[in-house]
């Protein structure tokens, strides 16, 4: 089942369908195989991870060369069947998620050395991966609900893998919050089906645009966005995130913070832009922006006060998700054109940068924790000498979280502030600046502790399999996304006028 083997099929439709289908089906099959053959789990899991990442790259290349892909499964009427779709935005996120997923898989090989831990990890992780790809590529509201359930269940089970009391409590709470959230989302879907009689996002979009705005639309929007905001830990619904993400095993924390939360945010963005654009006014976007501002300030402040490295990283996720929500009022106030395109690309650039940087940060934090036996920030002295490559990875990822040049989030924040000034919403500039200062404070607090007055290290890399993935992800977030972000505009099919870089 390699991606290449499907080239044999003659029909062009099938060739277009193959990468999308394989990106979802390969990890699903991998999960079944690693469950049935637990002793081969690490080997099978690694092979499947490479294959899935290959399918994701293939998907992105297909979108790059042919433009958006839309396919209806089963050969039925589009309103009756389920559609998959991949446009520039989906392809960019799929690419990020799968590269991060590949790095997490390599890292997990070294992290889960005990066979029974590895046997529990691989099938659940591959199910989580299948759900992520399925979610990014879905074109049907009910199918999205199924993907959300799969994602939430696999994520909570993975988070509790350490088996400690704290981890199980935190993740049981995460599971219950997730269930309430997806049921809230489902209620919104049911309302839309009652009103329009279809679940396909494309058909619904034109139906909503053709109809007059009704209170039912507004109610469906509120329910769906509220459910997803709970899942994406938007302030003040973030309460479940820090304990769940901080108590999970390091590769799982990386996946939860970098990918799972991002998937829920991506859905909000899609619903906002694809479905509800015609019925929205500025006040709804303003509310999301305000909550985002709260998340930036509160999350950064809590990260600064955190005593443990992983808790700091978890609160930093709350803050970084907040930045993404700051874009909504700006998008609403900007008329279609190059400056709006730039805002959209900047939003995506920040989401991608955070994905790479936070995964790298959590993986490096996990190495510090296994090496030192704890992750108390105050007692990190000498880490730079013991684990130079890992400390370098933390510093790189940290600079991307702050938004220092040349990281991708620097360009993202620059365009965010530019947009805020252009639309006259200057207060977001204040929020962005304060958040950046706070994040600089919490990152430098870690770095200042990590360097101690000990002899200079002899070897830069001490454990390649564990340290290199974290370093690569951090490097991508700073160098690749920052210096070579131009292609993102092309992938999104936008005018590459601003570019920023």
């Amino acid at each position: 089942m390699t991606p290449e083997s499907a080239f044999d099929s003659a029909a062009l439709d099938n060739l277009l369908a193959a990468p999308l289908v394989l990106a979802i089906m390969l990890p699903l099959l991998g999960s079944a195989l690693t469950t049935a053959l637990p002793r081969l789990a690490p080997l099978l899991g690694t092979l499947i991870a490479v294959g899935t990442a290959g399918a994701a790259i293939w998907t992105t290349v297909a979108v790059w060369t042919r433009g958006p892909i839309h396919l209806v499964l089963g050969g039925w009427d589009p309103s009756l069947a389920i559609a998959l779709r991949a446009d520039g935005m989906a392809a960019a996120l799929v690419l990020m998620a799968n590269l991060v997923g590949l790095a997490i898989s390599v890292y997990a090989l070294g992290y889960f050395r005990a066979p029974d831990r590895a046997q529990s990890f691989w099938p659940l992780w591959l199910l989580l991966w299948a759900a992520l790809n399925g979610l990014f590529l879905a074109g049907d509201l009910f199918n999205l609900y199924v993907m959300l359930e799969l994602l939430g269940l696999a994520a909570a089970a993975l988070g509790a893998l350490t088996g400690s009391r704290d981890a199980i409590t935190a993740n049981l709470r995460y599971l219950l919050v997730g269930l309430v959230a997806s049921l809230t989302y489902l209620f919104g879907v049911a309302l839309l089906y009652t009103a329009y009689g279809t679940l396909d996002i494309g058909l619904l979009s034109s139906a909503i645009a053709a109809d007059e705005p009704s209170p039912l639309d507004a109610a469906a929007l509120t329910l769906m966005v509220a459910g997803l905001a709970m899942k994406s830990a938007l302030f003040p619904l973030h309460f479940w995130l820090p304990p769940a993400h901080a108590s999970a095993p390091a590769p799982v924390s990386a996946a939860l913070s970098a990918l799972v939360v991002k998937a829920a945010f991506y859905l909000i963005l899609r619903l906002w832009l694809d479905l509800f654009e015609p019925i929205l006014d500025l006040s709804a976007s303003m509310l999301l922006g305000l909550l985002g501002a709260g998340a930036v300030l509160w999350g950064s402040w809590q990260a600064l006060r955190a005593e443990r490295l992983k808790l700091l990283a978890a609160y930093s996720t709350v803050a970084q998700i907040g930045y993404l929500f700051l874009f909504f009022p700006l998008l609403a106030a900007t008329p279609p054109g190059p400056s709006r395109d730039n805002l959209l690309a900047a939003l995506l650039l920040m989401a991608l940068t955070h994905g790479f940087a936070k995964a790298g940060f959590f993986m490096a934090a996990g190495l510090v924790q296994t090496n030192a036996g704890h992750d108390r920030i105050d007692d990190l002295g000498g880490t730079a000498q013991r684990l130079p490559a890992t400390t370098f990875a933390i510093a790189l990822a940290g600079s991307a979280l702050i938004g220092l040049p040349p990281s991708g989030s620097f360009i993202g924040k620059w365009l965010l502030m530019q947009g805020a000034i252009e639309t006259g919403q200057w207060w977001w500039v204040v929020v962005g600046t304060l958040g950046t200062l706070l994040s600089a404070a919490y990152i430098f607090r870690v770095l200042s502790r990590a360097f101690g007055l000990e002899p200079t290290p002899i070897k830069f890399v001490t454990d390649a399999r564990a340290e290199v993935p974290a370093l690569m992800l951090s490097l991508v977030s700073v160098a690749v996304l920052g210096l070579a972000s131009g292609p993102l505009w092309t992938l999104l099919g936008l005018n590459a006028s601003g570019g920023g870089a």
Binding site: L28, T35, A36, L150, G163
Partner: protein, 264 residues
Amino acid sequence: MTKDPGRSGADARNDAAAAARAAERDRDLSLLLAVLLTLIGIALLGIYWLALNEAEGPRLADLALGLVPRTGVDNPVTAVLLNYRAYDTLMELAVLLAALLGIWSLGPAPAGFQRSGRALAAMVSWVVPLLILAAGYMLWVGGYAPGGAFQAGALLGAAGVIVRLAGDPSAGLPGEHAQRALSVLGVLVFALVGLALLWLGDGFLTYPPSLAKWLILLIESAATLAIGVALAAAYVGGRPATAPASTLASGKAGARTEPTGEGN
């Protein structure tokens, strides 16, 4: 999660204080949740009232019913689940698998109940074969009347629950290897059928009308077994005991203390 026997009293007091703080935090949290949920509930009532009064919009039922003859089955519900929206059903089987894997990841199963008395054992030996027979009937009848893989699997799962309640710690399930293989059977067969159709040029999960009935029956049979095993194994509530054959093969499993040979 065993407690360290050599802990000092100070540690215990610290733990108690921490527990009190945690309880206080939990109380705050549940209050917040209660307020939120009440508000959401009031809003939902309003919306429900609104949806009831809204003019009835278009529905897919006519379209779906009209195409049923081309799906390979006669029951419209089965047509939706296994043909129009087969991809959703495949993912629902994956959700069930995720739940089972989550339960298995939390540790070995607790001990079962004591052996049943004669009267109960006699009744169980009556009811369980009937349940299995009824599951087979449900699977077949799903083609043209209400029934299908989920209903049949639920009956199989119920048979497992009864067997465990009557004292068999493994709920009548086979050893670990067979259990693992059976629990993924639904996802595996479903996904492989879908990919094979993509490979042959029909498209992912696009059944050719002449084969649709048999492909659906194949998928549903595999799904029935997988659902039945997953539900019974979920009721057992933990990782299955390692089968005797693999105990010999791997030295590590010998450290476990589960009794072997409980099946006789």
